[in-house]
Symmetry: C2
Subunit: 318 residues, 2 copies
């Protein structure tokens, strides 16, 4: 059977799957990225892992190609550039070096852009020509489709929406002392920082007065909101307000038909979707009001990152 190898390179895990034409993995696995600080070792590990997956498959596998999603990936150059979460520094010619090991068509793209292609091929964006996927995990990523095409940018770095700064440079910083942009507010990490902000701003009772920042977890914040914790509720409202405001701004750029939210933060459900929807609509320019959908990703059951990476190749075959 025809399959595409989908590889998602993340700061913690590298996930690999054999993906069929409907976006599902016949088999998949992962290993820990940081156990391979040497790039050649990492690439050898990828190569052997793919071979193992093929052997485990119940049918004979015909690999059409390899799609890779990675942070700070340049689609035009096949490189990963100075990714803060990865151990390999500088400009890493990943595609070129992996091609020395695997003789298949190969494409790499930043993970959120890959997710957008996945959403178009396998998810809830089927048939849409203008939409934006926003990934809300540890960070805030963006994948933009306009005129039915993924927007790459001049050298492949379009869609870094988490680095857009709506505070005129006056907002939160990143760990590196540079301005943080939206990501410092709207992400799993941003939500935790907002808990601190709310604990500082208000004197409400909250379970979070007894929990140190390091011990904060997203699921606990959702649980607290459900149980009526006022600091958790305020933190979600604030997060959704900033995200809604941002999506209203993004609409004035490429006017998408829909935004799809995916990633860890979206498992908070209505706590993030409801304020986002409200503040987006409130801030949309008159000409856009009532026309922009806010939707959950349709990739939830499909191991979105692997399927998205595979979509880079499958999109050439459909």
């Amino acid at each position: 059977m025809d399959i595409v190898v989908g590889i998602d390179i993340g700061g913690t895990k590298t996930k690999i799957g054999l993906v069929t034409q409907d976006g599902n993995s016949v088999t998949q696995t992962y290993f820990r990225t940081k156990e391979y600080p040497d790039l050649d070792d990492f690439l050898n590990k990828i190569t052997t892992t793919i071979e193992e997956l093929k052997q485990h498959a119940s049918q004979k596998i015909n690999v059409l190609g390899v799609g890779i999603g990675a942070p700070n990936a340049s689609s035009r150059r096949g490189t990963i550039e100075n990714a803060p979460n990865l151990l390999w520094k500088g400009s890493v010619p990943l595609v070129q070096k992996l091609k020395e090991r695997i003789k298949s068509p190969m494409k790499m793209m930043n993970d959120a852009s890959a997710a957008a292609l996945g959403e178009m091929l396998f998810g809830n964006a089927k048939g849409m020509k203008d939409f934006i996927v926003v990934t809300l995990g540890t960070g805030f990523g963006g994948g933009i489709v306009a005129n039915g095409q993924l927007i790459d940018g001049f050298d492949g770095f379009a869609g870094e929406l988490g680095h857009i700064d709506l505070t005129l440079g006056d907002g939160r910083l990143t760990g590196l002392g540079v301005r943080g942009g939206l990501e410092a507010y709207v992400s799993a990490t941003g939500l935790k920082r907002t808990i601190l902000y709310m604990l500082c701003k208000y004197m409400d009772e909250s379970r979070f007065r007894n929990i140190a920042y390091t011990d904060l977890h997203g699921e606990d914040i959702t649980k607290a909101a459900e149980e009526g914790d006022p600091i958790a509720i305020k933190a979600f409202e604030y997060t959704g307000k900033i995200l809604g405001f941002a999506l209203a701004n993004f609409t004035a750029f490429t006017q998408p038909e829909a935004f799809f939210l995916m990633g860890g933060l979206t498992s908070s459900g209505k706590w993030i979707f409801e304020p986002t929807q409200k503040y987006m609509e409130e801030n949309l320019l008159e000409v856009y009001k009532g026309k922009v959908k806010l939707l959950p990703s349709g990739m939830v059951g499909k191991s979105a990152a692997i399927s998205g990476a595979a979509a880079l190749i499958w999109s050439d075959h459909t």
Copy 2:
């Protein structure tokens, strides 16, 4: 000879020209838009004006089509929607009604998007696949080209960059009491408002302490800056700072190779280009630094609005 009729519908003037394949007008004229409050009268005036231009041309004219640039135009629907500067209210089916009078291929687009196509066909963006045109006149418009295509948006209203708000809703308002966005800062009007802000914030001597807001003109502000007026110099620095910050943000969206600035405010030359360049570079994400050009439009001698409108049709013939 083959020509395309280019029509630029503005709040003050409607300009019409017969545009050749190199983007120049063999002949052109204008009339005052507000003298035709009735839409049918306006469309009749356009029709007769085109006939007159054809008769004035020294050669026999073969019209390939009619391209129209207008504010608040939906390229997908051929309508002008609630344009604040125009007298016809609601949704105006301009293309449909003009086609009843003129039997030619016809396309309409918002004026800044038309300008972007013009820049690509006739101006300084020849050969570029990813760029953004920013028009800085009474307002702030945007035309986005990515992957070599103009971005339309879901129903044709992409590129309303002047309505992006980088102040989280805390900034200047428009005349209508709604949030102003970038346009309230970076435009001919925005610069005048910033003169007031600087007069209020600082106590420097300035010629503008003796001039009422209504009597302020852009050329005078440029002249004052050249003569060392500290309020004029601060106003340009502030305007360029906000524009530079905005362009750095826009880069994280579609990663253009270049921004082209056009419109009245750009006639201030270095007073607007230099601070914009400085603050754009300063605020670019590491991965974009040194890669984004800030350029003047190449349409200066070509009656940019008419040529841009004509580019809507010429782009199908080249």
